[in-house]
Symmetry: C2
Subunit: 369 residues, 2 copies
């Protein structure tokens, strides 16, 4: 791409730590946030990387996100933990929760963690990878107010609940599924907008419920797999938000704001973003399963390797060069970008320069004007 600038991930991460420290976060929390953002960029999931910095700054300014949350354990058993996030930045409360959940799973075999009133979690695979790195299986998903049409409807009624599942392997990288229940993530539509190209039919509808191929008109996502994706996303809300007494869909469908009341603050934003970014709240679930309580962990890893080897060796469908397992293409990008740097689009670079100017901090040399 002609209008991209490559920057090494380390200085970009250091810059990000500095941004969030200036925005009022304790240095350790700013470090966590920067780790999750830069991890997403390294994996090629740029929609969940540093392009979000201006949005997060705006959300902190508007008190949608809380840089110094009072995170509380509301309830716990040996196998569950229920956390009030107090609008913490997603990575802060989620990393906190995952650490506790992994400890519990080591004892009880499983832990079901519920996180109430968190905000944008970023790249979900990050958290489930924490489980895999300790020899456990990790499962997570989040639910927010509606951004997707249920099967059969022409208006938003459900959320495209991103989810991630990761398990450890041996020779291979951990298997990591990281997806949403929509045909595509909203970020892919923003990307089409930036590139000035149309989107395929079936990705989204406009505000009136008509098929949208112009990304500017695309207002409501469509579920993957029709009734199946639609049903899955509905059940995710029932298994998270509603169990936490903090429903996201029902109240919105009847015109009430979900989650705790927010002061509406007008602030000067950096860059522009889609309307659904104006307010943000979500609930998350994280489940850890301690594999070694059921089977030998080394045998498990070898069995996962065998499955991966077998699947990759299958005869390929027409037009397919290689059969990939979940997380594999992203891991290749991760290796490449960790070594060669992260290519940032012109618009992201422009926004980060404005961020640096406003906070009076130094940009990585590669990004300086």
């Amino acid at each position: 791409m002609a209008n991209e600038t490559r920057v090494a991930w380390e200085p970009l991460k250091e810059f990000t730590v500095e941004v969030f420290t200036r925005m009022g976060m304790p240095p350790q929390d700013a470090e966590t946030e920067a780790s999750v953002l830069s991890w997403a960029n390294r994996r090629g999931v740029d929609s969940h990387g540093v392009m979000l910095i201006p949005t997060y700054m705006e959300w902190i300014d508007r008190e949608v996100m809380n840089p110094r949350p009072d995170i509380q354990v509301l309830k716990e058993t040996p196998a569950t933990i229920f956390i009030e996030a107090d609008r913490a930045l997603g990575p802060v409360v989620t990393v906190f929760t995952v650490k506790r959940a992994l400890e519990k799973a080591k004892q009880a075999g499983v832990c079901w963690a519920a996180i109430r009133n968190t905000t944008h979690q970023g790249a979900m695979g990050y958290y489930t990878l924490m489980a895999a790195e300790q020899g456990m299986a990790g499962i997570t998903w989040v639910c927010s107010p509606p951004n997707m049409a249920p099967f059969g409807a022409r208006a938003a009624g459900i959320h495209n609940s991103p989810l991630a599942i990761t398990v450890p392997a041996k020779r291979h990288q951990p298997l990591m599924l990281d997806m949403a229940t929509s045909m595509v993530a909203a970020g892919k539509i923003t990307l089409a907008l930036d590139k000035g190209i149309p989107i395929p039919q079936g990705w989204a509808i406009d505000r009136e419920g008509n098929p949208a191929t112009d990304p500017k008109q695309a207002a409501i996502l469509l579920p993957f797999g029709g009734a199946k994706g639609s049903g899955l996303s509905m059940m995710f809300e029932c298994l998270s938000s509603v169990i936490m007494g903090n429903p996201m869909l029902g109240p919105t469908l009847f015109g009430r704001e979900p989650g705790p009341p927010l002061k509406e603050k007008k602030v000067k934003a950096i860059g522009d973003r889609p309307a659904h970014y104006q307010r943000h709240i979500q609930n998350g679930v994280f489940i850890a399963v301690d594999i070694s309580q059921f089977t030998d962990l080394e045998e498990y890893r070898a069995n996962i390797d065998e499955m991966i080897d077998g699947i990759k060796a299958l005869p390929k469908a027409d037009g397919i060069d290689e059969i990939f397992v979940p997380g594999e293409p992203e891991y290749r990008t991760y290796e490449e970008r960790s070594r060669d740097g992260i290519p940032l689009p012109e618009r992201t670079v422009k926004n980060l320069r404005e961020v640096a100017g406003r906070l009076d901090i130094k940009l990585p040399a590669a990004l300086a004007a």
Copy 2:
């Protein structure tokens, strides 16, 4: 349908109990099996109803299914239970496991149950409904040897892992998602075969990996949602079979029989069935979450109702008469068939007559020749 015979569900269930008792099952287990089969028929899921009786008889004769299994608890913690099914008929070991899991979840908040070496579970929603009836959320899935092509492959490598999730509501029936990760269940292809109609492209491929629209040629299922459904089904195997040290995919991909060794017995079968029915083994996971440990159960039920009301009231897409939530169409059929009887196709009736003749038991009067 001209060639259907209606039969009340109670005598059909009694007949089914008698069949499985004669096949060597303890009366109480035969009762469980008959409950699950007749429940599927009442919900309109005929592919999982009494049409399976001849298949199950053949499997019992061939010692694929064990009518008198030695079900063992291999390991348990306050929040997990790991069961060896000894090739029990699915409903027998699963109902046994669900009861224990619900007790554990009442204490620990959650229970993760793993069932190794079970056989055909039947209609999965039955088990998660047991959770919902006790005010809990239930999640379950099973994994068997490959019957579906991973995204990008033209051969079988993954299984279309049926799954079910059920949560309780208040005025409404429990929300019940009961699906597989394939475009359609294999039963829908068998149904097209019986009806002599083609299947749509995208449902299945033939043995050589070419698109199949002739149901006779359809040998391998295709995943729903492309890479997403494919990835989900792979992760289900990793979270069930592989955690239990009893992988279904890896060994098959390298030409080894998965599961415990079976004696191959030649038997005389009743009716004919697809080749993939020749051998059967699977592993299952059941998860219970005790809602009342996180929020007030009555409030939960009311919130689910509100979500359902809101979704059903959304503006409808073109060509849609009513927006359904998961499990709703099946519940309407359940009410109708519980009242008016179950319509059985000619072929099923013919097979059940042969069953009655072989076992020397009386058919329900409506089905007698």
